[in-house]
Symmetry: C2
Subunit: 244 residues, 2 copies
DNA sequence: CGATATCTTGAGGAATCTCAATACTAGTGG
DNA sequence: CCACTAGTATTGAGATTCCTCAAGATATCG
């Protein structure tokens, strides 16, 4: 499958949103590895795009021609079984990086959750820059290590946590990542659908919904307007997330 | 917790098993990144150990002072919940690398499955070598990317596969990795306990046992002596693994 | 050969899923 | 501005998979 249509203006397309030097999430991501001057080299190869919700960015098995950086909005990455069962392996927010490949192919698919801005770097040119700037290589290695640690946390969640613990962990994760981006962590913004949450936590939408209701009834959280969740009993929610 | 007792001879201890140049798994791992001459630099910093089964190599949260390479045997890496629930996030065999750290701490614990030989590289010196040999850095990045892809496969398994599919996937994974090491893939050698398998697949030992029995009854596999499993109906097992 | 751990099998129970109906929400057009 | 539509979320009832607890069988190791 082709990536979102880069040429088509309107719904999704190439837009120069801001120069890299003024990038609001620069400190969070790969770009932080480089100094002003070097950064311009990155800027030379980058294309910025704005993509609406639920659009495919790339699909598992595609030739991995690009690497991406999310600068606003959110993205889900997932794998499918032949019969359609889906596992979302991660949500990405502004500052997050994606596009690591195995054998020059993407190992998963990526789709926007809501309207999202992304930077696109041609992999070939990125590889050249990595040769030129070992700092960049090191930065990517560190990002991959962090992702790996997050993946292991998620395995623990999927294999050993109850539905309640999974939802609590999910809220805590969203809150902590919001903080990291410099946003407020409570109420937590939950931009994704129940179906997406279910496929991320290894549950069904019904169980996700019921569990939210339970947490609400027990006074741990409150469901607010605009896909927001207020954590009213932080201690309880954090404890639940740890399996306490 | 300290790593296995490096000073104590007998059960586990430092042994010079072979020089790096003659390492049987060299082609599979980090070391493949370097030429003969450079390899000697790696050899200068490595210590080789032999560790008996079920010994701790390092624990989650320990200062990540070393990186390791398994040269024989097998290792399990895992995370725990406070109440003791355990998720094994990976099994390592000869040629596999471990010890990636986040914030200079190990993000998981590592324990031998059976008697195992490992190479230990002090991280600090490894970092120096990486600066000196970008090839090494690139190699590690590639290994981390592969691990990440494997982790995503495992998330799909944990979140969306049935017990039968999990066991079938597990056998296929073991078979494929045996091939990669140049060993025969059928019968599959399954050195780990039912409890370890359960904690890897997000099941209980009883379910693992029952599922093996079912696969046996259906004629898909045969359980042999010496922790070996013969796959008698390859098509069926592979199909099951894919969720077919 | 006995002791101990591991594995298998059984019976019942619990968490989660499936299927189905209802309620809500957001966007659309009258 | 409101009714309508389509999608999404919630709730309910029953089914199912997997878990728990318990006993027996097998394997391993001194």
């Amino acid at each position: 499958m082709p990536p979102f249509d880069l040429a088509r203006p309107g719904k999704s397309g190439a837009v120069d949103i801001h120069p890299c030097g003024a990038c609001p999430v620069r400190a969070l991501t790969v770009c932080a590895a480089l100094e002003e001057e070097e950064l311009s080299r990155l800027a030379d190869i980058v294309h910025t795009h704005r993509v609406e919700g639920n659009q495919t960015i790339f699909s598992e098995g595609d030739t991995a021609a690009n690497m991406f950086n999310v600068t606003a909005g959110s993205v889900k990455i997932y794998k499918l079984l032949p019969d359609g069962r889906r596992q979302i392996t991660g949500f990405l927010f502004s500052g997050d990086f994606m596009g690591l490949a195995v054998n020059d192919r993407y190992a998963y698919s990526a789709e926007t959750v809501a309207t999202t801005s992304i930077c696109r770097f041609p992999r070939r040119k990125m590889d050249q820059l990595m040769d030129e700037f070992p700092k960049l290589q090191r930065r990517l290695f560190r990002l991959a290590s962090n992702e790996l640690a997050a993946a292991q946390d998620q395995m623990l969640l999927l294999g050993r946590k109850t539905a309640k613990e999974k939802i609590a962990s999910f809220l805590v994760m969203l809150a902590q990542r919001a903080v990291r981006r410099g946003q407020r962590d409570n109420p937590v913004h939950v931009p994704m659908s129940r179906a997406d949450i279910a496929d991320y936590l290894g549950l069904t939408t019904e169980t996700v919904s019921r569990t939210f209701t339970q947490l609400k009834s027990s006074g741990a959280i409150r469901l607010l307007e605009g896909s927001k969740v207020q954590i009213t009993d932080t201690g309880k929610v954090y404890e639940m997330a740890e399996g306490g």
